[in-house]
Symmetry: C2
Amino acid sequence: MQTFQYFTPTKVVFGKGTEEQVGELVKEQNATKVLIHYGGGSVRKSGLLDRVEASLQAEGIRYVTLGGAVPNPRLSKVYEGIKLGRKEGVDFILAVGGGSAIDSAKGISYGIPYEGDVWDFYLKKSLPQINIPLGVVLTMAATGSEMSDSSVVTKEEGWLKRSAKSDLGRPKFAILNPELTYTLPEYQTMSGCVDIMMHTMERYFSHETDTKLVDAMAEGLLRTVMQSARVLLEEPCNYEARSEVMWAGSLSHNGLTGCGRKGDWACHQLEHELGGMFDVAHGAGLSAVWGSWARYVYKENVARFVKFAVNVMGITENAEAPEETALAGIKALEDFFRSIRMPVSISQLGQDISEEQIRELAYKCSFQETRTIGGIKSLNRQDMENIYKMAR
Amino acid sequence: MQTFQYFTPTKVVFGKGTEEQVGELVKEQNATKVLIHYGGGSVRKSGLLDRVEASLQAEGIRYVTLGGAVPNPRLSKVYEGIKLGRKEGVDFILAVGGGSAIDSAKGISYGIPYEGDVWDFYLKKSLPQINIPLGVVLTMAATGSEMSDSSVVTKEEGWLKRSAKSDLGRPKFAILNPELTYTLPEYQTMSGCVDIMMHTMERYFSHETDTKLVDAMAEGLLRTVMQSARVLLEEPCNYEARSEVMWAGSLSHNGLTGCGRKGDWACHQLEHELGGMFDVAHGAGLSAVWGSWARYVYKENVARFVKFAVNVMGITENAEAPEETALAGIKALEDFFRSIRMPVSISQLGQDISEEQIRELAYKCSFQETRTIGGIKSLNRQDMENIYKMAR
């Protein structure tokens, strides 16, 4: 087990009707004026925004609202939030929505007190030293941003999707009511399930072997999400399945399943470029590349892929042919993705991708050939191109 | 899954040599004068205290020390710490040791700014509204107090062992270096393993069924601790096994394995009276009563005991005779306790206990017949007496 830090200060308030506590939770933070940041109109149409506003009003807390966070949230919206937040003198930011609203809110929270360009943090030119604290009312289980230190934003100019990480970005509280996810379209729900699984798998596929506790927890999490996703295909309003998925989403990305090891993260990096170029749902982009990535790298650590196959996918181990077991596990997860109607190739994402576009993706993903990605196997620009081709 | 709150703000710094960071971590808390509270002389003899002091000095942080925290930490020591802390004007408390030093430090942290008697918090007469923040350098994996909201202290007058709970008591940071536990005597190590398992089992034995994720994580944790305890019997300086146990100890009692359900906690209450009367090691007291408790209550939820038998103890399920499977699981855990040289009865604790003492234990445990304990089955004074008798 490697040396690690684990820091998850977010207070989670989980269960039915918990959004009614938002005013109280904001008050606990000694906030006086809040910027409520949300995404599309569904938050307003469903009446959730009204309930949130009423709860703030009941505590005498003033607020302004800013809608329009979109999937793969845009830098221009972050700039808009920074301007509004400064003008209104807000001292707290409340994201009401899924990962897009939260990631965008984190950008705003870093940007308001920062004299330079907030994009600096995403280019790793600078680290946030201070921010406006934020809280979350979650409406989609997927990115885990409600407890994570991470914010992913896309700069429209060049469609660059980049992440900024800071413990300051960990929300002060996260309200998790599984009922708020009932009305999500199936595609969004399943895409969220893939994202949750991938946050754990990116940490799981590692060369570190002495992580028994963390492995066992990760494997249990993956099995639970698969089981719950199958239930939600048939019964989207099953409270228990929604609950398991929602809590798994937070635990998948708050650091827990990565303690004591270096993760891989190549699939996320490969997907970020796809998301930047084609604006696909993040989870769908991940399932589209995962199988190709796995087949490209599994020989670097067959034992780990065997462990995954046996403990997560329920494959019977063939001790005489470990590679066979490993490949059976990869196939089983792809079959699972298919069964929940998620793509296992870029064409199934609805994208007809050219050779030139593949070269461009790999070039951008390698930061103009200045970085490699991956932990199980270090991948350079050529490797990236190979995987995109396999995933075509 | 029931509504829950999850709040674990403690920053964990885990790995070899991490105690060297203590000065830096205290500095981050803007502390200027620290009360270092520790237990026996081993912390001094091993040189750990010198390293901690040197690290504080390097950051220019002043400190005073108070040793003498004992297992089942005493209220008189808490009073002593409060007096010293006030006199010296400390603004931070650093516990260097195991659960005793930490629990005692929490009492001191509540007591310094409180005008009344700190014992009020343990009698639930009052709730801490403010405290002196605290941090931990852990030397024993057991109580999980390094991340928990709980402090257990014994009042010498009447030997009452009582707990106080408050989120204020959650340490600001916890330094976890598994190497610091190498020199623990086997009995303490194994007693710690039992305590860790019991913190998860007290939450696991519940009537709530829709907790698949939390169950899977709890089961993985229990299997890992058993596996690691067996390794440590043979190799007390096995870093990986020490690491698994240490991290399991923190995750067992920070709330994670209890999310979404009401726990049982009867064994802890039964043990607290034993600990108060006979001053036994907490984990050893727990293993001495667990089997008797389990056989007394299992019929209230056979399915849960079957799940435990199969998923934790590796018993093959006999679907036609679930009670048989449940009992096999109970026996298997008792066998495990024996295999790591832990007692499975009060007499094996080295205590010859009289009928009168049993009556006294039950009377005290029922708070003079004013409370029942337990979640799987609600236990009154008579039930407690029956279990103590079975455990004799």
